[in-house]
């Protein structure tokens, strides 16, 4: 039965109080551990299509008569369009339509960053569209630009009001502490750089807009377009069956989709608007830079008594100020905490969510500071973390927390440190470091799924969610197969089309599996119940005696047993239709994910080169649905995190705000040659309070602790405290120099 509840909804660490219509979730969870299909390795259902190059991405959509759009972008960090004249552009061959400022959402009159689009052209080819963009006569009124986030804070230029948090009495606790440490940490702007750039193909069929969009949220894009175009949501069909990565940057429609939709309307033809790689590096969103001034107070036994943090998020021209102080508030038991977070509005490209926004940055600062405290007090890093273990989330109980079990899994990797350090020779110093992780990832309602079972016994799951590459399609198939008692290859999943299936949530915030998975299980259970009812009537047995196992429907006493595919032959053209909904999250509980990573590094103290040699990860995300896919997620998160730790950095000119790193030779992402040995382990205990599945999300947790774990391993190897990401050779050598001075003052250092 549907019911209405008032609840807190979380996406990417942002909370809002909402009314939600939810359905009950009466199924009991499966026991912990591997089941017949769930909790085991499963290769991807769509693996062959993707590997063979048959999967059709938005980039591959070519419609008859399709035009190509290009956008005119501001060369100035802050400027108003004083005059714009399309006459010369319109005379060029192949040009079909132009849009000026205000004619599509996202085309602005006042550009607030260098690269913001103000106009667009549709032409027969992309080359013709780009030539036309260059032929637009435009005059700019250049306005004052603020590029420095600290200046923005001084001038109180914010994207939102400063967020202040306090518990206990930090001032008194710092005064009473045995030791107080302070540090300033900086993180850089990093870019998602999904392999498929942001793009959309739009066509109008009658009064319906078909939009093929590379997106993490087909329903979000549908609603964005419907609102902007003033048409009903069901007159917009958004399709994204395969997409080439998003990492948080593709949660909405964005200007390229609006531009394609409006130009398609104007021209009566399909229009593709795709960002080039250079545009992707400028205007497609980023993980914003941060400045973190942190302070910790502790007793000599390592008990943390006070924490304080001032965080500046250099948000950019737009975007939101993510919860950078989250780890400081949530990771450890500490009664006295004070934080303030400023979202600096500056004239640089906009922030967009990027894989655990805020917590990646905040964990770097906090977990480095924790280990600096450990060094000062000569306390073991793992012991220090155990000593400050939090038993509740600031008074709210956890739905489940197995961080201590993660620590136990990490022990054997931490125990390698003497052997690792002993490998140091000449200028190469080896060391081991760790960092913990806390994050959301519980998902929530609403999300829905349907199941369809035909006379051949095959099961089709229909749900309008997306698989952005994480393998959620396979996880959903596993859940349906498990519930129905059939082999995995009897199940297909139809997804990625807002007109063909019920609502499912966005693929962000580590939420797809914990949100849609329980709905899929409920839909499979609904179909299973109907099959059992039919079998009970057909064979004149009690429903309770009928089971389906490994594709065979039977009774325990052997009255009958036949393959489901044969039994369901009696359906002929009839079909069994099941439906399922995601139930509510547990009331009054914090649903969170946890983990720890232990990293081994080698540092050349002469050149500042850092090599990550081994990463061991132990995460607690409830029940693991696909053990193979889960290991892939952990590896992928760690590798992406090694990128922002060691080599990735978007640079801009501090005077003009123009982006200097627009190509993939300048913006350096990890290659196969940069990858360390990675060991991934899971606690794999269902969260008994969370849904019929007990699973949380895993997309984001693995990227959270890696930077701090690397920095802490560097300290272990060299005695140097790195305080800035990425840890370039320049930063490494600076930290080594500082460590030498620290040594002269009497503190231990290896250099």
């Amino acid at each position: 039965m549907a019911r209405l509840i008032r609840t807190e909804k979380e996406v990417e660490g942002r909370f809002e109080e909402v009314w939600l219509v939810v359905e009950e979730d009466p199924l009991t969870q499966w026991p912990s551990g591997p089941q017949a299909v769930v909790g085991r390795d499963a290769v991807r259902k769509d693996g062959p299509e993707r590997v063979r190059g048959e999967a059709r991405y938005t980039a591959d959509v070519q419609l008859p008569g399709m035009l190509h759009a290009a956008m005119l972008r501001s060369p100035h960090a802050h400027a108003r369009v004083a005059r714009i004249d399309f006459a010369r552009a319109l005379e060029l061959p192949g040009v079909r339509a132009v849009l000026g400022p205000g004619e599509a959402k996202g085309l602005v009159e006042e550009a607030e960053f260098a690269g913001q689009p103000v106009a667009a052209v549709a032409a027969d080819s992309l080359g013709a569209a780009r030539r036309a963009v260059e032929a637009v006569d435009i005059e700019w009124e250049v306005l004052e630009a603020v590029i420095d986030p600290e200046e923005a804070v001084r001038r109180e230029l914010f994207t939102m009001e400063p967020a202040r948090y306090e518990r206990g009495d930090p001032d008194r606790a710092f005064a009473d502490a045995d030791v107080v440490l302070e540090g300033t940490y900086r993180t850089s702007v990093v870019l998602h750089n999904s392999m498929e750039t942001h793009q959309a193909v739009c066509e109008w069929v009658g009064d319906t807009l078909n939009a093929y969009v590379s997106t993490q949220y087909i329903w979000g894009v549908r609603d964005n377009l419907a609102e902007e175009l003033g048409i009903p949501g069901d007159k917009v069909r958004v399709v994204c069956e395969f997409m080439g990565g998003g990492f948080g940057s593709k949660n909405g429609a964005d200007e390229q989709t609006y531009v394609a939709a409006v130009l398609a309307k104007r021209t009566g033809r399909p229009v593709k608007c795709a960002l080039s790689r250079r545009e992707e590096n400028i205007a497609a969103g980023n993980r914003n830079a941060t400045i973190q001034k942190l302070k910790i107070g502790a007793r000599s036994d390592g008990t943390i008594v006070a924490l304080e943090g001032e965080y500046i998020n250099a948000v950019g021209a737009s975007g939101w100020s993510a919860m950078t102080e989250g780890p400081m508030r949530m990771l450890y038991a500490c009664e006295n905490v004070r934080t303030v977070r400023y979202g600096a509005k500056i004239n640089t490209p906009p922030m967009k969510a990027f894989r655990a926004p805020g917590f990646v940055e905040g964990t770097f600062g906090l977990e480095c500071l924790i280990d600096e405290l450990g060094e000062k007090l000569e306390l073991d890093s793992l012991e220090l973390r155990k000593r400050n273990y939090a038993d509740s989330n600031d008074g709210t109980p956890y739905s489940s927390k197995n961080l201590m079990e993660c620590y136990e899994l990490a022990q054997k990797h931490w125990d390698r440190r003497d052997d690792v350090r002993a490998r140091s020779t000449g200028t190469w110093k080896h060391g081991v470091g760790m960092a913990s992780q806390i994050w959301f990832g519980g998902g929530g309602p609403p999300s829905y799924a349907w199941t369809r079972v035909g006379s051949d016994g095959r099961i089709t799951v229909v749900t309008a969610m997306q698989d952005i590459g994480t393998g959620t399609r396979t996880a959903m198939a596993q859940i349906a197969a498990e519930e129905l008692g059939v082999p995995l290859d009897h199940v297909d999943v139809v997804l990625g089309d807002s007109a063909r299936g019920p609502y499912a949530t966005l693929s962000a915030g580590s939420s797809t599996t914990p949100s849609v998975g329980p709905a899929v299980r409920a839909a499979a259970a609904d179909a299973k119940q109907q099959i059992i009812e039919i079998a009970a009537q057909r064979h004149d047995v009690a429903e309770d005696d009928v089971t389906i196992e490994d594709g065979v429907i039977k009774t325990a006493d052997g009255t009958f047993a036949e393959p489901l595919s044969e039994f369901l032959g009696l359906l002929e053209d009839a079909q069994i239709l099941g439906k399922g909904a995601r139930g509510p999250n547990p009331a009054g509980m914090s649903v969170l994910t946890f983990g720890i990573q232990v990293v081994e590094v080698a540092v050349d103290v002469e050149t500042g080169e850092v090599r990550v040699e081994r990463v061991a990860a132990a995460h607690d995300v409830g029940r693991i649905v696909n053990t193979l896919g889960a290991r892939s997620q952990v590896e992928g998160g760690i590798i992406q995190g090694i990128g922002h730790t060691l080599s990735e950095q978007r640079l801009h000119d501090p005077e003009t705000g123009r982006i200097l790193t627009t190509t993939l030779d300048a913006y350096r992402m990890p290659t196969i040659a940069d990858v360390p040995e990675i060991v991934s382990e899971f606690v794999d205990q269902p969260d008994e309070h969370l849904t019929n599945l007990g699973s949380k999300g895993l997309g984001e947790p693995p990227i959270i602790p890696i930077a701090a774990a690397i920095a802490n391993a560097i300290r272990d190897a060299t005695g140097a405290d790195v305080h800035e990401l990425p840890i370039t050779r320049e930063e490494m050598l600076r930290a080594l120099e500082a460590a030498k001075k620290k040594e002269r003052r009497g503190a231990p250092a290896a250099v």
Binding site: V43, R44, D46, G47, P48, E49, R50, V51, R52, G53, E54, A55, R56, Y57, A59, D60, Q62, H192, N193, S194, M195, E196, T197, F242, M243, G244, G245, F247, S276, R277, I468, G469, T470, G471, L628, G629, R631, S632, E635, G636, G637, I638, I639, Q640, T663, L664, D665, M669, P670, T671, I672, A673, V675, I678
Partner: protein, 146 residues
């Protein structure tokens, strides 16, 4: 438009194409071989890799009219044992770089059917995977004949 003769996956193609068109664009837009992906379009990422006479070649920075040799795209490698090796090893997440990875890997194992980890890392370093499937790619290539 000047005529262009190409052998692609063993089949002869004659097409009219403007001078200056890249091999990647010709394959994808003119001939419909969309398995070849374009991700950077300036030779930095490897997603567009095809083989020209067996040599991994970045088709996005190769002018189509300069190619006078046999071109092999992912469509010509669909029965290669590497396909199953990639699927088995889970060497695919979003999959956008994957066809290019397979094309590079196929050239590698043709040259050396038993490459070492170091050789794999050297030969595959030009193919970027943003999802980070590298450990799986390494595993797939190490065990491609299993």
């Amino acid at each position: 438009m000047p005529e262009l003769r190409l052998t692609i996956n063993g089949e002869a193609h004659t097409v009219d194409a403007p001078i200056g068109i890249s091999l990647a664009q010709l394959l994808r837009e003119t001939l419909g071989f969309t398995g070849t992906k374009i991700a950077c379009n300036e030779g930095h990422c490897g997603a567009c890799t095809v083989q020209v006479d067996g040599v991994p070649t970045l088709s996005c920075i190769t002018l189509a009219h300069t190619v006078d040799a046999d071109v092999t795209t992912i469509e010509g490698l669909r029965d290669h044992p590497l396909i199953n090796a990639f699927v088995r090893a889970d060497a695919v997440q979003c999959g956008f770089c994957t066809p290019g990875q397979v094309v590079s890997a196929a050239a590698l194992v043709a040259d050396n059917p038993s490459p070492t980890v170091e050789e794999i890392r050297h030969r595959m370093a030009g193919n970027i995977c943003r999802c980070g499937t590298y450990p799986r790619i390494e595993e797939a290539i190490l065990h491609w004949r299993d």
